[in-house]
Amino acid sequence: MEGVSRPRCHTMKGRAGGKTGRKILLVGNPNVGKSVIFHHLTGKYAQVSNYPGTTVMVTSGNASFGDGSVVIDSPGANSLSPRSEDERVTRDLLLKEDQAVVIQVADTKNLSRALLLTAQLSDAGTPMVLALNMTDEAELKGINIDIQKLSHVLRVPVVATTATRGLGIQELQNTLEEARPAKLRVRFSSDIEHALLQIEELIPELPLGRRAVALMLLCGDTELENWLQQRAGPQAVQAIYSIAADLQSRNARPIDYLINRVRSREVQRVMGHVAYRGVARSNYLADTFGRWSTHPLAGIPILAFILLLLYYVVGVVGAGIVVDLVESVLFGEYIIPAVGWLFALLPIPLLQDLMVGEYGLVSVGLTYAVAIILPVVGFFFICFSLLEDIGYLPRLAVMANVVLRRIGLSGKAVLPLILGLGCDTMATLTTRTLESKKERLIATLLLALAVPCSAQMAVILALLGGISGTAVALFFAIILIQLLLVGFLASRILPGDRPDFVLEIPPIRVPQLSNVVTKTLARMEWYFKEAVPLFLAGTFILFVLDKLGALVFVESAFTPVVEGWLGLPAATAAAFIMGFLRRDFGAAGLFMLAEQGLLDANQILVSLVVITLFIPCIANLFVIIKERGLRVGIAIVGFVFPYAIVVGGLLNLLFRALKVGL
């Protein structure tokens, strides 16, 4: 960020003084394919590092076209007047890499959003090339852009690319030599222009155009203060702030709003010249389904229908038919007797017990993992892959956002909750991307409390499959009420803002069989590799506790709570202990108890509610402590554990008081 002056009008040929050591900065809105273009330009060798003083990752690499250029992939930004850490890093990169040429990557489907950024790059005077990416998707939507006209209007090279297929990349490389500052100069109202001139006079020669920096300051970019103090001195900074304050006092609306409104009008004017609506190649049924599935009212029956379908496929077919076949026939009649016979040859009863006893590695660990969970999870993964391939998950996130907004939760916090339906541990990790501490805390708490992971969900559906559809509806209603109640209370107690939520919704499409099969296979393999060792380890711990007499002690210690308050048999305590190791392991323990006839329908529901709301599994707990600290970890466990017991007990009391039998 040294004060190197920049020639005001130049091409790359004229300003870089040769190619060697040139820096190419990829800039663009979030999710426009910058990273894919980066990989085309650099090959596979990239350095990923945190931008100094931030947690934002910046990727850089040597250009593969061998002229010594370095390509830098900046974080997605909608504006150079930063509102997030990502945008601040992009702005700082532009300030720091003052000799760089910019490739602005734009999503052709959303060109007006990209042109708002082009207008700011134009003010900055940065030599640039515009890459219109995702042109194939735009064509499908009937969006046509006159590239030559756009290039003429902006006075910069414009290249159409489809980065995912490598189309247009060579042309992009070739046009880098022709990069020049864009001419999308926006004229604001006279008082804003006057203030801009005053501020420009107060700031020194800068790597970015003075007008761009003056606009950032008028838009309330306070983070430039230190940087400016070093270069212009405190008096100039004071004067700039008083100009901005004076301008604001003469306008009812915020200055950044007024500036963006004028920019938007200018962009719309340009769009009117270069964009044409063609015929969209759309599917009426798919579009209607897509629209309804995000609707706050119509979306609920669709979600209910999907849950019902899951219940039939996973609970009735997967658990009822396949599990019965694998567990009773394959394991019950062949594998366990064969292993028992094999170990009976050994004169060590302890070893026999370890393999096929009450807590045997084969009779419990392997049977739970392979005979019960794997088939159930397999069916669940087929359904999950289908929903994923159809494009339903982002719509679920949008609908959840609508519901959660009403209780004070909103924004990106919805995403980790949806991710938790896959794996709570991974989802807890992603809470670090949330902007406010409040959001991070609430999302972590709700994940630990009320979001069952995919494997647990599969076993829950399998268990409820043996009861009725009413039990499924009741279970999800209870869990949803807890999620909304705790989320509502937490959002009222914890201070903080509610950021906006922006998510690209892909079109609804017919699922491809090959996609569904490969994704399901990958998930089953991953699950098998991850779960089986943990199941065996968990069984071994239970075996040791049993042999030491500790399990009986734990069961008797928890008897007043488990039997008295929850109305469950004492043996359920072991399943809850298993649940701490892995939640699905605990749920599988309940599955076995139900199969043995030790749990009636009411007890199954109570125990499932408790184990779902129960303390998170050990991996999730470690991640909570790592991400939020030990104090938060202890506080979450300290809240979740009694909460699960209280809700389970109240449900048990309610069933008894109303004499309800499921």
Binding site: P30, N31, G33, S35, V36, H39, K44, A46, V48, M57, T59, G76, A163, T164, E388, D389, G391, L393, P394, A397, K412, L415, P416, I418, L419, G422, C423, T425, M426, A427, L429, T430, R432, T433, L503, E504, I505, P506, T518, K519, L521, A522, R523, M524, E525, W526, A619, F622, V623, K626
Partner: protein, 71 residues
Amino acid sequence: MSVKCALCGCVFEPEEQSCAVCPTVGGCRVICCPRCGYAVPGESSLVQLWRRIRRKTNAVKGMDSDIRQAG
């Protein structure tokens, strides 16, 4: 090969993952979207095996046809 996130639509290369921040052991074969964190397991080894067999079969077929043409 680019991956498109099923949740947020972000298109990314598997190398872009932020594995450094993940506490799980390396080589977990789960691909996490760098934007929203949505996790998808890497390609199944069964599918990889199938692809290898197909590649080899195609290569052999190609050699056979080359030999036939040369003959």
